[in-house]
Protein backbone atom coordinates (compact mmCIF):
# COMPACT_ATOMS: atom_id res chain seq x y z
CA UNK A 1 0.00 0.00 0.00
CA UNK A 2 1.22 3.53 -0.78
CA UNK A 3 1.66 6.05 2.01
CA UNK A 4 2.40 8.85 -0.41
CA UNK A 5 1.32 9.01 -4.02
CA UNK A 6 1.78 12.03 -6.25
CA UNK A 7 0.44 12.54 -9.71
CA UNK A 8 1.91 15.31 -11.86
CA UNK A 9 2.54 17.48 -8.80
CA UNK A 10 3.54 20.94 -9.99
CA UNK A 11 4.28 24.26 -8.33
CA UNK A 12 5.13 27.53 -10.00
CA UNK A 13 6.28 30.72 -8.28
CA UNK A 14 5.63 33.36 -10.93
CA UNK A 15 7.67 32.31 -13.94
CA UNK A 16 9.81 29.89 -11.91
CA UNK A 17 8.85 26.24 -12.17
CA UNK A 18 9.87 24.94 -8.72
CA UNK A 19 8.32 21.48 -9.07
CA UNK A 20 7.59 20.16 -12.53
CA UNK A 21 4.99 17.39 -12.89
CA UNK A 22 6.45 15.12 -10.24
CA UNK A 23 4.92 11.64 -9.94
CA UNK A 24 6.17 9.12 -7.42
CA UNK A 25 5.05 6.68 -4.80
CA UNK A 26 6.32 5.95 -1.30
CA UNK A 27 5.33 2.57 0.07
CA UNK A 28 4.22 2.03 3.65
CA UNK A 29 7.18 1.62 6.02
CA UNK A 30 9.68 2.71 3.38
CA UNK A 31 12.46 5.28 3.83
CA UNK A 32 12.31 7.20 0.56
CA UNK A 33 14.91 9.82 -0.30
CA UNK A 34 14.41 12.96 -2.34
CA UNK A 35 17.92 13.78 -3.43
CA UNK A 36 18.93 16.89 -5.29
CA UNK A 37 21.05 20.03 -5.21
CA UNK A 38 19.86 23.22 -3.50
CA UNK A 39 16.90 24.68 -5.36
CA UNK A 40 15.97 21.34 -6.94
CA UNK A 41 12.41 21.52 -5.55
CA UNK A 42 12.71 19.14 -2.57
CA UNK A 43 11.40 21.53 0.09
CA UNK A 44 8.57 22.75 -2.15
CA UNK A 45 7.54 19.12 -2.75
CA UNK A 46 7.47 18.37 0.97
CA UNK A 47 5.59 21.60 1.69
CA UNK A 48 2.92 20.64 -0.82
CA UNK A 49 2.63 17.13 0.65
CA UNK A 50 2.34 18.58 4.18
CA UNK A 51 -0.42 20.96 2.95
CA UNK A 52 1.70 24.02 3.68
CA UNK A 53 1.45 25.33 0.15
CA UNK A 54 -1.00 24.33 -2.52
CA UNK A 55 0.09 22.82 -5.84
CA UNK A 56 -0.38 24.80 -9.05
CA UNK A 57 -1.27 21.57 -10.82
CA UNK A 58 -1.51 17.86 -10.15
CA UNK A 59 -2.61 15.98 -7.07
CA UNK A 60 -1.28 13.87 -4.23
CA UNK A 61 -2.58 11.53 -1.56
CA UNK A 62 -0.89 11.18 1.81
CA UNK A 63 -2.00 8.27 3.99
CA UNK A 64 -4.94 7.88 1.64
CA UNK A 65 -6.11 11.50 2.06
CA UNK A 66 -6.17 14.05 -0.74
CA UNK A 67 -3.89 17.01 0.07
CA UNK A 68 -6.40 19.47 -1.40
CA UNK A 69 -9.68 18.24 0.08
CA UNK A 70 -8.56 16.65 3.38
CA UNK A 71 -5.72 18.94 4.40
CA UNK A 72 -6.52 18.84 8.15
CA UNK A 73 -6.56 15.02 8.10
CA UNK A 74 -3.22 14.98 6.25
CA UNK A 75 -1.72 17.32 8.87
CA UNK A 76 -2.95 15.01 11.63
CA UNK A 77 -1.15 11.93 10.31
CA UNK A 78 2.06 13.63 9.22
CA UNK A 79 5.04 14.61 11.34
CA UNK A 80 7.28 17.18 9.71
CA UNK A 81 10.81 18.34 10.32
CA UNK A 82 10.85 21.63 8.47
CA UNK A 83 13.84 23.18 6.70
CA UNK A 84 14.42 25.37 9.81
CA UNK A 85 13.91 23.82 13.25
CA UNK A 86 10.89 26.17 13.66
CA UNK A 87 11.10 26.19 17.47
CA UNK A 88 9.95 28.91 19.84
CA UNK A 89 13.21 30.13 21.33
CA UNK A 90 11.67 31.96 24.28
CA UNK A 91 9.89 28.78 25.36
CA UNK A 92 11.56 25.85 27.06
CA UNK A 93 12.04 22.50 25.34
CA UNK A 94 9.15 21.08 27.38
CA UNK A 95 6.85 24.02 26.58
CA UNK A 96 7.57 23.61 22.86
CA UNK A 97 6.74 19.91 23.03
CA UNK A 98 3.67 20.58 25.15
CA UNK A 99 2.26 23.09 22.65
CA UNK A 100 2.75 20.84 19.65
CA UNK A 101 1.46 17.76 21.51
CA UNK A 102 -1.83 19.55 22.21
CA UNK A 103 -1.95 21.11 18.76
CA UNK A 104 -1.75 17.57 17.32
CA UNK A 105 -4.58 16.41 19.57
CA UNK A 106 -2.90 14.78 22.59
CA UNK A 107 -5.47 15.99 25.10
CA UNK A 108 -5.02 13.37 27.84
CA UNK A 109 -2.62 15.03 30.28
CA UNK A 110 -0.92 11.84 31.49
CA UNK A 111 -0.56 10.41 27.98
CA UNK A 112 0.90 13.72 26.78
CA UNK A 113 3.41 13.93 29.66
CA UNK A 114 4.51 10.31 29.12
CA UNK A 115 4.99 10.83 25.39
CA UNK A 116 6.98 14.04 25.85
CA UNK A 117 9.17 12.42 28.49
CA UNK A 118 9.71 9.32 26.33
CA UNK A 119 10.83 11.43 23.36
CA UNK A 120 13.00 13.86 25.31
CA UNK A 121 14.73 10.93 26.98
CA UNK A 122 15.15 9.16 23.64
CA UNK A 123 16.78 12.30 22.20
CA UNK A 124 18.83 12.86 25.39
CA UNK A 125 17.17 16.22 26.10
CA UNK A 126 15.20 15.39 29.25
CA UNK A 127 17.76 17.01 31.56
CA UNK A 128 17.51 20.26 29.57
CA UNK A 129 13.70 20.23 29.35
CA UNK A 130 13.27 23.39 31.43
CA UNK A 131 15.90 25.39 29.55
CA UNK A 132 14.87 27.90 26.92
CA UNK A 133 15.48 26.67 23.38
CA UNK A 134 17.52 29.83 22.69
CA UNK A 135 20.29 28.31 24.83
CA UNK A 136 20.45 25.07 22.79
CA UNK A 137 23.15 24.16 20.26
CA UNK A 138 22.19 23.62 16.62
CA UNK A 139 22.34 19.84 17.05
CA UNK A 140 20.10 19.95 20.13
CA UNK A 141 17.57 22.12 18.31
CA UNK A 142 17.54 19.68 15.43
CA UNK A 143 16.95 16.77 17.81
CA UNK A 144 14.15 18.67 19.53
CA UNK A 145 12.57 19.47 16.17
CA UNK A 146 12.62 15.77 15.26
CA UNK A 147 11.13 14.92 18.69
CA UNK A 148 8.39 17.47 17.99
CA UNK A 149 7.67 15.85 14.62
CA UNK A 150 7.17 12.51 16.40
CA UNK A 151 5.09 13.72 19.35
CA UNK A 152 1.72 12.52 17.99
CA UNK A 153 3.11 9.17 16.77
CA UNK A 154 2.54 10.01 13.10
CA UNK A 155 2.65 7.05 10.69
CA UNK A 156 4.28 9.28 8.05
CA UNK A 157 7.32 11.48 8.57
CA UNK A 158 8.65 14.21 6.29
CA UNK A 159 12.22 15.12 7.18
CA UNK A 160 13.66 18.08 5.31
CA UNK A 161 17.47 18.19 5.46
CA UNK A 162 17.77 16.66 8.95
CA UNK A 163 21.57 16.92 9.00
CA UNK A 164 21.94 20.30 7.30
CA UNK A 165 24.46 22.61 8.91
CA UNK A 166 25.52 20.10 11.56
CA UNK A 167 29.06 19.04 12.36
CA UNK A 168 30.01 15.46 11.32
CA UNK A 169 29.50 14.09 14.84
CA UNK A 170 26.01 15.57 15.22
CA UNK A 171 25.14 14.46 11.67
CA UNK A 172 26.09 10.92 12.53
CA UNK A 173 24.03 11.14 15.72
CA UNK A 174 20.96 12.28 13.77
CA UNK A 175 21.52 9.56 11.13
CA UNK A 176 21.74 6.89 13.83
CA UNK A 177 18.55 8.23 15.38
CA UNK A 178 16.73 8.08 12.04
CA UNK A 179 17.94 4.54 11.51
CA UNK A 180 16.59 3.59 14.93
CA UNK A 181 13.32 5.36 14.16
CA UNK A 182 12.71 3.57 10.90
CA UNK A 183 13.65 0.22 12.38
CA UNK A 184 12.04 0.60 15.83
CA UNK A 185 8.90 2.59 15.12
CA UNK A 186 8.37 1.54 11.48
CA UNK A 187 7.54 5.02 10.21
CA UNK A 188 7.18 5.77 6.52
CA UNK A 189 9.86 8.39 6.02
CA UNK A 190 10.24 10.84 3.16
CA UNK A 191 13.73 12.23 3.53
CA UNK A 192 14.85 15.34 1.66
CA UNK A 193 18.57 15.72 1.45
CA UNK A 194 21.49 16.80 -0.63
CA UNK A 195 23.78 14.72 1.59
CA UNK A 196 24.48 11.56 -0.34
CA UNK A 197 25.65 9.79 2.77
CA UNK A 198 22.20 10.21 4.31
CA UNK A 199 20.49 8.85 1.23
CA UNK A 200 22.91 5.96 0.83
CA UNK A 201 22.77 4.84 4.45
CA UNK A 202 19.10 5.38 5.23
CA UNK A 203 16.98 5.11 2.10
CA UNK A 204 15.57 1.99 0.54
CA UNK A 205 14.77 4.02 -2.58
CA UNK A 206 15.95 7.37 -3.80
CA UNK A 207 14.53 9.79 -6.33
CA UNK A 208 17.03 12.25 -7.74
CA UNK A 209 15.37 15.52 -8.68
CA UNK A 210 16.86 18.49 -10.43
CA UNK A 211 15.17 21.76 -11.42
CA UNK A 212 11.87 20.38 -10.16
CA UNK A 213 11.94 17.31 -12.39
CA UNK A 214 12.41 13.67 -11.51
CA UNK A 215 15.68 12.44 -13.01
CA UNK A 216 15.67 8.84 -11.82
CA UNK A 217 14.14 6.61 -9.11
CA UNK A 218 15.50 3.41 -7.62
CA UNK A 219 17.47 1.85 -4.78
CA UNK A 220 20.97 3.29 -4.28
CA UNK A 221 22.41 0.11 -5.91
CA UNK A 222 20.01 0.29 -8.84
CA UNK A 223 20.87 3.93 -9.44
CA UNK A 224 24.57 3.13 -9.58
CA UNK A 225 23.97 0.27 -12.02
CA UNK A 226 21.59 2.27 -14.20
CA UNK A 227 23.73 5.33 -14.52
CA UNK A 228 27.31 4.27 -14.16
CA UNK A 229 26.91 0.75 -15.55
CA UNK A 230 28.67 -2.35 -14.27
CA UNK A 231 31.43 -2.19 -11.66
CA UNK A 232 35.08 -2.12 -12.83
CA UNK A 233 37.88 -4.46 -11.80
CA UNK A 234 40.81 -3.00 -9.93
CA UNK A 235 43.96 -5.14 -9.82
CA UNK A 236 46.97 -4.02 -7.78
CA UNK A 237 50.32 -5.68 -8.58
CA UNK A 238 53.70 -5.78 -6.95
CA UNK A 239 55.23 -4.48 -10.18
CA UNK A 240 53.60 -3.43 -13.41
CA UNK A 241 55.11 -3.86 -16.88
CA UNK A 242 54.07 -3.56 -20.54
CA UNK A 243 53.87 -7.34 -21.03
CA UNK A 244 51.18 -7.62 -18.34
CA UNK A 245 49.20 -4.69 -19.79
CA UNK A 246 49.30 -6.24 -23.29
CA UNK A 247 48.24 -9.63 -21.92
CA UNK A 248 45.17 -8.10 -20.30
CA UNK A 249 44.27 -6.01 -23.34
CA UNK A 250 44.33 -9.13 -25.56
CA UNK A 251 41.48 -10.74 -23.61
CA UNK A 252 38.20 -10.53 -25.54
CA UNK A 253 36.08 -9.73 -22.42
CA UNK A 254 38.16 -6.61 -21.72
CA UNK A 255 36.69 -3.36 -23.04
CA UNK A 256 39.09 -0.84 -21.61
CA UNK A 257 42.24 -0.76 -19.47
CA UNK A 258 43.33 2.26 -17.44
CA UNK A 259 46.85 2.14 -16.07
CA UNK A 260 47.93 3.76 -12.82
CA UNK A 261 51.72 3.39 -12.92
CA UNK A 262 52.42 5.11 -9.64
CA UNK A 263 50.27 2.60 -7.73
CA UNK A 264 51.09 -0.34 -10.03
CA UNK A 265 47.37 -0.67 -10.59
CA UNK A 266 45.14 -1.64 -13.51
CA UNK A 267 41.53 -0.50 -13.73
CA UNK A 268 39.80 -2.83 -16.16
CA UNK A 269 36.35 -2.33 -17.67
CA UNK A 270 34.68 -5.64 -18.49
CA UNK A 271 31.37 -6.85 -19.93
CA UNK A 272 30.69 -8.94 -16.85
CA UNK A 273 33.05 -8.51 -13.95
CA UNK A 274 31.92 -11.60 -12.06
CA UNK A 275 32.54 -14.14 -14.84
CA UNK A 276 35.61 -12.49 -16.37
CA UNK A 277 37.66 -11.91 -13.20
CA UNK A 278 39.34 -15.40 -13.00
CA UNK A 279 40.45 -15.19 -16.65
CA UNK A 280 41.93 -11.71 -16.13
CA UNK A 281 43.82 -12.77 -13.02
CA UNK A 282 45.15 -15.89 -14.76
CA UNK A 283 46.47 -13.88 -17.74
CA UNK A 284 48.24 -11.47 -15.41
CA UNK A 285 49.87 -14.32 -13.50
CA UNK A 286 50.93 -16.07 -16.78
CA UNK A 287 52.51 -12.79 -17.89
CA UNK A 288 54.65 -12.81 -14.74
CA UNK A 289 52.61 -10.40 -12.63
CA UNK A 290 52.44 -10.76 -8.84
CA UNK A 291 48.92 -9.89 -7.75
CA UNK A 292 48.52 -8.06 -4.42
CA UNK A 293 44.75 -7.43 -4.54
CA UNK A 294 41.70 -7.76 -6.79
CA UNK A 295 38.58 -5.65 -6.19
CA UNK A 296 35.34 -5.14 -8.07
CA UNK A 297 34.72 -1.41 -7.71
CA UNK A 298 31.28 0.23 -7.89
CA UNK A 299 31.08 3.96 -8.51
CA UNK A 300 29.91 5.75 -5.37
CA UNK A 301 26.42 7.21 -5.28
CA UNK A 302 28.13 10.58 -5.15
CA UNK A 303 29.84 10.00 -8.51
CA UNK A 304 26.57 8.76 -9.94
CA UNK A 305 24.66 11.74 -8.56
CA UNK A 306 27.19 14.31 -9.74
CA UNK A 307 27.25 12.73 -13.19
CA UNK A 308 23.47 12.92 -13.42
CA UNK A 309 23.13 16.47 -12.14
CA UNK A 310 25.90 17.59 -14.51
CA UNK A 311 24.20 15.93 -17.49
CA UNK A 312 20.93 17.67 -16.62
Amino acid sequence: MSSVETNGLTRRFGSLMAVDHLSFEVKEGEVFGLLGPNGAGKTTTVRMLACLISPSEGSARVGGYDIGRDSLKVRQIVGILTENPSLYERLTAYENMDFFAEAYGLSDVQEKRNRIRELLEFFELWKRRNDKVATFSKGMKQKLAIARALVHKPPILFLDEPTAGLDPESSKGIRDLMERLSQREKHTILLCTHHLEDAEKLCSRVMIINRGKSVIVGSPDELRDKIAGQPVLQVTLKKLNQKIIEAVKELKQVKEVDVDDSASRLIITLDDVKSATPEVVRSIVYAGGMVLSVNALRPSLEETYLKLVKEE
Binding site: E83, F99, A103
Partner: protein, 276 residues
Protein backbone atom coordinates in the same frame (compact mmCIF):
# COMPACT_ATOMS: atom_id res chain seq x y z
CA UNK B 1 -15.53 22.85 9.98
CA UNK B 2 -16.53 23.96 13.47
CA UNK B 3 -14.29 26.30 15.40
CA UNK B 4 -12.69 24.63 18.45
CA UNK B 5 -12.21 27.32 21.11
CA UNK B 6 -9.70 25.20 23.06
CA UNK B 7 -7.40 25.14 20.01
CA UNK B 8 -7.59 28.94 19.71
CA UNK B 9 -6.85 29.17 23.45
CA UNK B 10 -3.86 26.86 22.94
CA UNK B 11 -2.42 29.32 20.39
CA UNK B 12 -3.22 32.14 22.82
CA UNK B 13 -1.40 30.44 25.73
CA UNK B 14 1.66 29.66 23.62
CA UNK B 15 1.87 33.22 22.26
CA UNK B 16 1.26 34.80 25.65
CA UNK B 17 4.10 32.77 27.17
CA UNK B 18 6.38 34.13 24.47
CA UNK B 19 5.11 37.71 24.68
CA UNK B 20 5.27 37.88 28.48
CA UNK B 21 8.99 37.00 28.30
CA UNK B 22 9.76 39.81 25.88
CA UNK B 23 10.31 43.14 27.64
CA UNK B 24 10.37 45.02 24.35
CA UNK B 25 6.71 44.11 23.97
CA UNK B 26 5.65 44.32 27.62
CA UNK B 27 7.18 47.75 28.28
CA UNK B 28 4.99 49.81 25.90
CA UNK B 29 1.92 47.83 27.02
CA UNK B 30 2.53 48.95 30.60
CA UNK B 31 3.98 52.44 30.07
CA UNK B 32 1.47 53.88 27.57
CA UNK B 33 -1.64 53.09 29.68
CA UNK B 34 0.12 54.54 32.73
CA UNK B 35 0.67 57.77 30.84
CA UNK B 36 -2.98 58.00 29.81
CA UNK B 37 -4.53 56.90 33.09
CA UNK B 38 -2.31 58.64 35.64
CA UNK B 39 0.30 60.99 34.27
CA UNK B 40 -1.69 63.03 31.74
CA UNK B 41 -4.82 63.52 33.91
CA UNK B 42 -2.76 64.48 36.95
CA UNK B 43 -0.48 66.87 35.04
CA UNK B 44 -3.04 68.41 32.70
CA UNK B 45 -6.19 68.68 34.78
CA UNK B 46 -6.18 67.78 38.39
CA UNK B 47 -3.07 69.54 39.71
CA UNK B 48 -3.73 72.79 37.73
CA UNK B 49 -7.35 72.78 38.92
CA UNK B 50 -6.30 72.39 42.55
CA UNK B 51 -3.63 75.04 42.19
CA UNK B 52 -6.06 77.48 40.55
CA UNK B 53 -7.99 79.93 42.66
CA UNK B 54 -11.79 79.94 42.51
CA UNK B 55 -12.98 81.93 39.53
CA UNK B 56 -10.21 80.65 37.26
CA UNK B 57 -11.11 81.15 33.60
CA UNK B 58 -12.11 78.08 31.60
CA UNK B 59 -9.96 79.42 28.79
CA UNK B 60 -9.93 77.21 25.70
CA UNK B 61 -12.61 74.91 27.05
CA UNK B 62 -15.31 77.54 26.67
CA UNK B 63 -16.02 76.41 23.09
CA UNK B 64 -16.18 72.76 24.10
CA UNK B 65 -18.54 73.54 26.95
CA UNK B 66 -20.75 75.68 24.71
CA UNK B 67 -21.03 72.81 22.21
CA UNK B 68 -22.12 70.32 24.86
CA UNK B 69 -25.64 68.95 24.59
CA UNK B 70 -28.31 70.32 26.89
CA UNK B 71 -28.36 67.35 29.28
CA UNK B 72 -24.63 67.82 29.94
CA UNK B 73 -25.05 71.59 30.33
CA UNK B 74 -27.73 70.77 32.92
CA UNK B 75 -25.25 68.60 34.84
CA UNK B 76 -22.93 71.60 35.08
CA UNK B 77 -25.56 73.93 36.55
CA UNK B 78 -24.49 75.36 39.86
CA UNK B 79 -20.83 74.28 39.55
CA UNK B 80 -17.87 76.62 39.97
CA UNK B 81 -15.58 77.07 36.96
CA UNK B 82 -12.98 74.92 38.70
CA UNK B 83 -15.53 72.14 39.21
CA UNK B 84 -16.78 72.45 35.59
CA UNK B 85 -13.23 72.09 34.29
CA UNK B 86 -12.46 68.97 36.36
CA UNK B 87 -15.89 67.48 35.57
CA UNK B 88 -15.65 67.99 31.80
CA UNK B 89 -12.01 67.00 31.51
CA UNK B 90 -12.29 63.92 33.71
CA UNK B 91 -15.56 62.56 32.39
CA UNK B 92 -15.57 63.69 28.74
CA UNK B 93 -12.15 64.90 27.54
CA UNK B 94 -10.24 61.79 28.59
CA UNK B 95 -12.93 59.27 27.61
CA UNK B 96 -11.74 58.67 24.03
CA UNK B 97 -8.16 58.16 25.23
CA UNK B 98 -9.41 54.95 26.78
CA UNK B 99 -10.21 53.73 23.28
CA UNK B 100 -6.61 54.41 22.29
CA UNK B 101 -5.15 52.41 25.22
CA UNK B 102 -6.30 48.97 23.99
CA UNK B 103 -5.32 49.88 20.44
CA UNK B 104 -1.81 50.92 21.37
CA UNK B 105 -1.38 48.05 23.82
CA UNK B 106 -2.48 45.50 21.22
CA UNK B 107 -0.73 47.03 18.23
CA UNK B 108 2.71 45.52 18.97
CA UNK B 109 1.40 42.01 19.67
CA UNK B 110 -1.08 42.01 16.78
CA UNK B 111 1.55 43.24 14.31
CA UNK B 112 3.90 40.51 15.55
CA UNK B 113 1.24 37.75 15.37
CA UNK B 114 2.08 36.20 12.00
CA UNK B 115 4.78 38.57 10.73
CA UNK B 116 6.92 37.86 13.83
CA UNK B 117 6.56 34.11 13.33
CA UNK B 118 7.66 34.58 9.72
CA UNK B 119 10.69 36.61 10.79
CA UNK B 120 11.70 34.13 13.49
CA UNK B 121 11.06 31.25 11.06
CA UNK B 122 8.63 29.47 13.39
CA UNK B 123 5.60 29.81 11.12
CA UNK B 124 6.14 26.61 9.12
CA UNK B 125 5.77 24.20 12.06
CA UNK B 126 2.75 26.14 13.32
CA UNK B 127 1.02 26.01 9.93
CA UNK B 128 1.80 22.28 9.67
CA UNK B 129 -0.35 21.50 12.74
CA UNK B 130 -3.98 20.43 12.35
CA UNK B 131 -5.17 23.71 13.90
CA UNK B 132 -7.66 25.18 11.43
CA UNK B 133 -7.31 28.61 9.81
CA UNK B 134 -10.14 30.11 11.89
CA UNK B 135 -8.70 28.69 15.15
CA UNK B 136 -5.27 30.10 14.33
CA UNK B 137 -6.74 33.47 13.40
CA UNK B 138 -8.86 33.61 16.56
CA UNK B 139 -5.93 32.53 18.76
CA UNK B 140 -3.78 35.30 17.33
CA UNK B 141 -6.57 37.83 17.94
CA UNK B 142 -7.04 36.65 21.54
CA UNK B 143 -3.37 37.04 22.44
CA UNK B 144 -3.61 40.73 21.53
CA UNK B 145 -7.14 41.26 22.81
CA UNK B 146 -7.00 39.70 26.31
CA UNK B 147 -3.85 41.51 27.57
CA UNK B 148 -4.90 44.82 25.99
CA UNK B 149 -8.33 44.63 27.64
CA UNK B 150 -6.77 43.69 30.98
CA UNK B 151 -4.51 46.73 30.68
CA UNK B 152 -7.51 48.91 29.76
CA UNK B 153 -9.58 47.73 32.74
CA UNK B 154 -6.66 48.17 35.14
CA UNK B 155 -6.02 51.63 33.66
CA UNK B 156 -9.70 52.47 34.17
CA UNK B 157 -9.56 51.37 37.82
CA UNK B 158 -6.43 53.47 38.38
CA UNK B 159 -7.90 56.44 36.50
CA UNK B 160 -11.16 56.23 38.47
CA UNK B 161 -9.23 56.12 41.75
CA UNK B 162 -7.08 59.13 40.77
CA UNK B 163 -10.11 61.15 39.57
CA UNK B 164 -12.14 60.24 42.67
CA UNK B 165 -9.29 61.22 44.98
CA UNK B 166 -9.35 64.71 43.44
CA UNK B 167 -13.14 64.94 42.99
CA UNK B 168 -13.61 63.98 46.64
CA UNK B 169 -11.71 67.16 47.54
CA UNK B 170 -13.08 69.42 44.81
CA UNK B 171 -16.75 68.28 44.85
CA UNK B 172 -17.02 68.06 48.64
CA UNK B 173 -17.05 64.28 48.95
CA UNK B 174 -18.64 63.44 45.56
CA UNK B 175 -17.13 60.57 43.52
CA UNK B 176 -17.34 61.06 39.74
CA UNK B 177 -16.34 57.59 38.54
CA UNK B 178 -17.43 55.00 37.61
CA UNK B 179 -20.61 56.10 35.88
CA UNK B 180 -22.83 54.43 33.25
CA UNK B 181 -21.13 56.03 30.24
CA UNK B 182 -17.67 54.99 31.38
CA UNK B 183 -18.81 51.45 32.16
CA UNK B 184 -20.31 51.20 28.66
CA UNK B 185 -17.14 52.73 27.26
CA UNK B 186 -14.68 50.42 29.02
CA UNK B 187 -16.65 47.17 28.89
CA UNK B 188 -18.54 47.71 25.63
CA UNK B 189 -16.96 50.18 23.24
CA UNK B 190 -13.26 49.64 24.06
CA UNK B 191 -13.45 45.84 23.44
CA UNK B 192 -15.45 46.17 20.22
CA UNK B 193 -13.14 48.89 18.84
CA UNK B 194 -10.08 46.90 19.92
CA UNK B 195 -11.36 43.70 18.28
CA UNK B 196 -11.90 45.44 14.95
CA UNK B 197 -8.47 47.00 15.02
CA UNK B 198 -6.75 43.79 16.18
CA UNK B 199 -8.56 41.72 13.55
CA UNK B 200 -7.41 44.06 10.80
CA UNK B 201 -3.84 44.20 12.15
CA UNK B 202 -3.63 40.37 12.35
CA UNK B 203 -4.88 40.21 8.75
CA UNK B 204 -2.16 42.67 7.70
CA UNK B 205 0.41 40.72 9.72
CA UNK B 206 -0.47 37.53 7.84
CA UNK B 207 -0.05 39.25 4.48
CA UNK B 208 3.18 41.20 4.95
CA UNK B 209 6.69 39.80 5.30
CA UNK B 210 7.87 41.46 8.51
CA UNK B 211 6.81 42.92 11.84
CA UNK B 212 7.86 46.51 11.07
CA UNK B 213 5.82 46.54 7.85
CA UNK B 214 2.77 45.26 9.74
CA UNK B 215 3.13 47.87 12.47
CA UNK B 216 3.57 50.75 10.04
CA UNK B 217 0.42 49.82 8.15
CA UNK B 218 -1.57 49.20 11.36
CA UNK B 219 -0.87 52.76 12.57
CA UNK B 220 -3.36 53.89 9.90
CA UNK B 221 -6.07 52.12 11.92
CA UNK B 222 -5.63 54.67 14.70
CA UNK B 223 -6.92 57.47 12.44
CA UNK B 224 -10.69 56.80 12.89
CA UNK B 225 -10.18 56.62 16.67
CA UNK B 226 -8.21 59.86 16.66
CA UNK B 227 -11.17 61.38 14.78
CA UNK B 228 -13.37 60.37 17.74
CA UNK B 229 -10.88 62.00 20.14
CA UNK B 230 -10.93 65.28 18.22
CA UNK B 231 -14.70 65.06 17.83
CA UNK B 232 -15.02 64.79 21.58
CA UNK B 233 -12.49 67.58 22.29
CA UNK B 234 -14.24 69.98 19.94
CA UNK B 235 -17.64 68.96 21.27
CA UNK B 236 -18.73 67.56 17.89
CA UNK B 237 -19.34 64.09 19.38
CA UNK B 238 -20.18 63.71 23.04
CA UNK B 239 -20.01 60.27 24.60
CA UNK B 240 -23.44 59.92 26.15
CA UNK B 241 -25.10 56.54 26.86
CA UNK B 242 -26.99 56.58 23.54
CA UNK B 243 -23.97 57.51 21.42
CA UNK B 244 -21.76 54.92 23.14
CA UNK B 245 -24.40 52.18 22.81
CA UNK B 246 -24.85 53.02 19.13
CA UNK B 247 -21.08 52.90 18.61
CA UNK B 248 -20.91 49.52 20.42
CA UNK B 249 -23.53 48.15 18.02
CA UNK B 250 -21.72 49.61 15.02
CA UNK B 251 -18.33 48.19 16.02
CA UNK B 252 -19.84 44.81 16.95
CA UNK B 253 -21.05 44.49 13.36
CA UNK B 254 -17.61 45.58 12.12
CA UNK B 255 -16.01 42.93 14.40
CA UNK B 256 -18.13 40.16 12.94
CA UNK B 257 -17.39 41.32 9.40
CA UNK B 258 -13.66 41.59 10.12
CA UNK B 259 -13.55 38.07 11.60
CA UNK B 260 -15.49 36.54 8.72
CA UNK B 261 -13.46 38.37 6.06
CA UNK B 262 -10.24 37.74 7.99
CA UNK B 263 -10.81 33.97 8.10
CA UNK B 264 -11.80 33.97 4.45
CA UNK B 265 -8.73 35.93 3.37
CA UNK B 266 -6.40 34.03 5.71
CA UNK B 267 -4.97 31.30 3.52
CA UNK B 268 -2.13 29.42 5.18
CA UNK B 269 -1.04 28.00 1.82
CA UNK B 270 -0.28 31.54 0.65
CA UNK B 271 1.84 32.54 3.64
CA UNK B 272 4.77 30.25 2.81
CA UNK B 273 4.32 30.67 -0.94
CA UNK B 274 5.03 34.37 -0.54
CA UNK B 275 8.11 33.67 1.55
CA UNK B 276 9.44 31.08 -0.90
Amino acid sequence: MRLRIQKAMLVFRKDWREVSRNWQVILPIVVIPFMFSVLLPVLLVLIPSLAATPGTSLGGFETMIQNLPKHVQDELAGMTDQQVMVYIMSLYFFAPFFLIIPLMASSVIASDSFAGEKERKTIEALLATPISDSELFLGKILVSFIPSMMVTVVSFIIYSTVVDLFSFAIFNGRLLLPNLVWILLIFGLAPTVALASIGLTVMISAKVKGFREAQQISVILLIPILALVFGQVTGAIIFGPVVVTALIGFFAIIDLAVFKIGVKLFKREEILSKLA
